[in-house]
Amino acid sequence: MKNYDLEKRRLVLSAVAIGIVAIYIIRLFALQIASDDYRKSADSNAFLKKIEFPSRGTITDRNGKLLVYNQPAYDIMVVTNEMRGHLDTLEFCKALNITKADFINRMVNIKDRNKNPGYSRFTQQLFLSQLSDKDFSAFQEKLYRFPGFYIRKRSVRQYQQPIAAHVLGDVAEVSQSDIEDDDYYQAGDYIGKMGIEREYEKDLRGVKGVQILLRDAHGQIQGRYQNGKYDQRPHPGRDIQLGLDANLQALGERLMEGKLGAIVAIEPKTGQILAMVSAPTFDPRAMIGKLRGKYQREMTLDPAKPLLNRAIMGQYPPGSTFKTGQAVTYFTEGIVTDSTRYPCHHGFNFKGLHVGCHAHASPISLVPSISTSCNSYYCWGLYHMLSNRRKYKTLEDAMNVWRDYMVSMGFGYKLGIDLPGEKRGMIPNAKFYDNAFKKWNPLSVISISIGQGEVNLTPLQIANLGATIANRGYFITPHVVRNIQGKKLDKKYLEKHRTKGSIKAYQEVIAGMMSSVRGGTCAHAVHPGYSLAGKTGTAQNRGKDHSVFMGFAPVDTPKIAIAVYVENGGFGADYGVPIGSLMIEQYINGKLTPGDEARAAALQSRHISYSFKRPLSRADSVRLDSIKRVNVIRDSLKKVREKQDMAVAEKLKEAKAKKDAEDKEKKKEPQNDPAIRVEPDTKVKTEKKDKDKGDDKKEKDKEKNKETRKESKENSKDKEKPKDQPKDRPKEQTKVKSKEQAKDKPKERSKDKTKGQVKDKPKEQIKDKSNGQSKAKQNSKEKVNRAK
């Protein structure tokens, strides 16, 4: 009865069964082994990673005094599923002091999955963050009436004293770019934004802990994964001790009240920063919590730029404080010896160039040249150095040797302080002048010898110069952090950097600085308790002179080196010396005598009035842009004309002597004069606008600096050029300056008859330069007749 034909059908059916199972196994393979996506999906389904925040490290001063600590703040969380239908919205809004529209808006944002991708109506969502203690206690009493609302504790930064805002910095919620840069951060985390908080973010923040929780299909928590086997405890952040002395810092900020400028005090032996004041400053407490954004916006718009840390970001002409470095250079290079004397007849007069000076004995040697701050001595020194063809083959070589000395003293490059945003200042080299001037000679650059012209330093670099002298020739990279809990300080803050100057040269300079305290420019700084060495500076600029002081004490065992820079403060002795001497006294004695306390109070209330222009509107900047563009065209036309002139001049020069060439320059001058003549009002305006531009550019520079930290000197010059202010500024500036000087003279400087003369000859020369060297730094055109 068997049907063999039909029996074959069993094979067909078997084949079907085998086929089905085979297909399913292939499918299983595809799902389980070929792809990892499903595992990830399952994990993100099931695991809820609950972050536990570590406490941020505290910050103390050098004596262990607490500066920054943490304070609890409260976030209000909501579970929308539990809230719905049970909430008296009106009362809720009242309790939190928000409007109903605000409430609705926040709720909509929470539920918007684009803005809040982790939204689930079964879990806590952030409703309001960082409620203060006071608001919270009011709200907490009523909390039981608002079902679905919960409290989450967090901590915010708190400051013991309203000091050192620039150094300490602040913390704020991470930005999108922070999250992209470092996957440690998630939205809502805090990160240091400025100062120490930013620089030492990784030490201060600690390590977040994580609890892995299991979440079911409804988003409800079902317990801990593997009983917490994979959980991680948070590690608290490291505490940081600064080199800062809180009392000294507080005094410095008091003294700088109502002024613009900076004070930097360094412990020479260690390179630790004892005080770093940038005025105007702000209260770091304002930068906490909900109001941070508002304050920051206000301060950004403030024309005095309180957010700018002038101590490391301000680039100023160092004025006469720079002469100490010059003396070291000339002496070490053998250009001058103790017996070298240079004449000074109310200044430096050579080949028609005049750099003014004040009355003192002449000729003069190194030590008294420092104590009297003789301009002529340093002009002669630099002139002899640059024109010494026996020692240096070319002018360029000489210039670069000089540059190397400066760089070895920490100028021209960032020192590498542990604060963000440091500027490098400006030390020109031969190539810079080649680019700027095409043709130049020692006389064209003579102003750099007295800290004017192309030279720019940050107050930090000036203070570091003081520390270097105090150490007799070496410095340790200045740093604000003294100690990190459980960690060694970066090696670079322990290394000694020896300058190219000889110890003998430094001793000469110290002798000069001491005599300047005994009876020279810093006579007021003298204090019976300890010996002091100091150097004043009066840095010329477009407005009133900047008042500068650099010094250290005690001379034999230096404990503190200090630089004070007060913008538009007049003579070094006006503000720099008294502020510096009070600071030194405070640090060395730990307190001020009653008499000095009174002096400090008087200084504190002596304010300098600055006239700020209003912030640039959009229309203004557009207008400025067009002016700039016109100027660029005009300059390029001028250059073309100049080239032709030069070609002619070359031929003539070959035939004639140098003097002839000079004559020729004189002849040129009247031609230029009418071109520059502008109505007085317009001049002032243009200058102000230029200032604005300069400020704008500073911001850009900041960014640029980040990118090109280790650019070579050569590169830097090329970059510096475009950064510089509009090309025709020099002419206008000269004019403005002379005009202002004319104004100032009768009022404030009538006593100083020796200074402020704007003689014809220098003026001409400068104008010539401005034609030929339109791209040079604005300061190069300043006549150096008044440096002290």
């Binding site: 009865m1 069964a17 089905i20 499903y38 389904n45 299991l214």
Partner: protein, 491 residues
């Protein structure tokens, strides 16, 4: 030959019992229990043996099933033959009565509640139907080629099926289609199965590619391909069932030739809907087949024409039903299955989550009770219909593939056993059992893997529940008993 017929019976049963199948059965039960533990376990539970948990209850069901199996083996094999119709009649009555059962669970009226017990008669109707159809087909003089006999067999299958559809358990009703595998084995023309397969292909291809255009012509790719397939199938059938290779070649040449010409014309000259041309060609093919049927008096031509006509009618009516008759949620389900829709929060949620569960298992799985996807209730119905997810997640590829292989062994073994039966009754019944298992595994695992539609039928020996476990045990052990008696009966 034993002197005492009854005294000899017991050792004979145990000796001739197929222990391979029993072994597979025990293995599957064990695997199944482990999976139910994993699926029903919630965090914090420590007692997996407690009767208050599903895993504890499943032990009870397994225990009773084994007892049931033992009892079944103890019975006389002629009992099933004798009482087949009685059992069938009783269960159909029960099924019919259940339709009017006021207790509905999740919208289905398939449950009978007896105190603490809740039984699903549909699970038991399977073995009854299998017995009845085996009895019917083993009757003297039965031949499947006879239309009346064939219709009778179909009647036996469709009667309980209709009752179950009446209980709104469409999924369980579909299981009865598996009897056609047995019918095929017993001589039903393969054309029936092929027709069924063809219908599925038309449906899937037609719906999935309906909205895609063919090249640059305004032609629906789905419709075009389906019509072309109808023509090709018909042509090939001419060869298979009439044996006329020449006519097949003739038909295919014309079909492809005209189609190609129409396509090129539509593509490069005047764009028009090629589907119309396809309809005309189909009509011509049908006309030609009918002409041949009349001319040669060869009935198969007629049947082939019927097939072609039926195919076209089915396709267009399916299209109509899908777009105009079906409820939106049903349409969404079909679209999700065909991959046209990705409704992860709604209809596609179950399948998506079960794919995640299985996929997250990896090669070795997460380990017993360590599955997160199933523990945390992301997969719905995870201890009944979606139980295979737990296997996939906790035992990984190795575990789930071995389960599939075990099922394959069981099915192949059953077919082997069925074929060695000396009587048609045993063979028919055996193929019914094999077919039912194959269908369950095919649909259940397929839906968990996202390959077949979501039809709520249990995975034998795995899904939690007494009814299904008892039902499958009955199916299997009755056959084992029949098989064990194969030698004795001959004596």
């Amino acid at each position: 030959m034993p002197s005492n017929y009854t005294a000899d019976r017991q050792p004979g049963v145990l000796r001739s019992l197929d222990w391979w199948t029993i072994g597979i059965y025990i293995a599957l039960l064990t695997f199944g229990w482990v999976s139910v533990c994993g699926a029903s376990y919630t965090y914090g539970d420590t007692e997996i043996f407690s009767l208050s948990t599903r895993s504890g209850m499943q032990i009870v069901w397994i225990g009773t099933s084994i007892c049931l199996g033992f009892v079944l083996l103890m019975m006389d094999d002629r009992f099933y033959d004798t009482f087949a119709y009685v059992i069938y009649g009783l269960l159909v009555l029960l099924l019919f009565a259940t339709i009017f059962n006021p207790h509905s669970i999740k919208g289905s009226r398939s449950w009978i509640v007896l105190g603490p017990l809740r039984l699903q008669p549909a699970e038991f109707a399977k073995f009854a139907t299998a017995l009845a159809i085996a009895k019917f087909m083993s009757a003297y003089g039965f031949t499947i080629k006879n239309w009346k006999h064939f219709a009778g067999a179909c009647g036996i299958i469709f009667l309980p099926m209709l009752c179950i559809v009446g209980q709104r358990e469409t999924g369980s009703a579909l299981v009865y289609l598996s009897f056609f595998l047995m019918l095929y084995r017993e001589g039903m023309s393969g054309a029936f199965l092929f027709t069924g397969l063809a219908m599925i292909i038309y449906f899937v291809v037609g719906i999935k590619y309906e909205d895609i255009l063919l090249w640059d012509t305004p032609t629906s790719l789905g419709k075009f391909v389906v019509l072309l397939l109808v023509q090709v199938f018909s042509s090939v059938m001419v060869w298979v069932y009439v044996g006329d290779k020449g006519r097949m070649r003739l038909l295919l040449t014309y079909v492809f030739g005209i189609t190609a010409l129409a396509l090129l014309f539509s593509e490069f000259v005047i764009p028009f809907d090629v589907v119309w041309v396809q309809l005309v060609i189909s009509a011509c093919v049908i006309g030609y087949l009918v002409y041949n049927a009349m001319n040669t008096r060869f009935a198969n031509y007629f049947y082939i024409a019927l097939f072609a006509l039926g195919s076209i009618a089915f396709f267009y009516s399916a299209d109509y039903v899908l777009n105009d008759v079906m409820q939106p949620h049903q349409r969404v389900r079909i679209n999700v299955l065909l991959g046209l829709d990705e409704d992860l929060a709604g209809a596609g949620y179950n399948v998506h989550q079960s794919e995640i569960a299985i996929g997250s298992g990896g090669l070795q799985g997460k380990g017993f009770l360590n599955g997160t996807q199933t523990k945390l209730k992301f997969v719905p119905e995870q201890d009944t219909d979606f139980i295979f997810c737990t296997v996939g997640e906790e035992e990984g590829f190795l575990g789930s593939a071995s389960v599939l292989v075990l099922f394959l062994c069981l099915i192949l073994r059953l077919m082997y056993l069925a074929d060695r039966q000396p009587f048609k009754f045993g063979r028919v019944y055996g193929y019914c059992v094999a077919g039912i298992f194959l269908f369950h595994v095919f649909i259940n695992v397929g839906m968990v893997l996202g390959l077949t539609p979501v039809i709520g039928i249990p995975l034998p020996f795995f899904s939690y529940g007494g009814s299904s476990l008892w039902g499958f045990t009955l199916l299997l052990f009755i056959f084992l008993r029949i098989d064990a008696g194969r030698n004795l009966i001959r004596q």
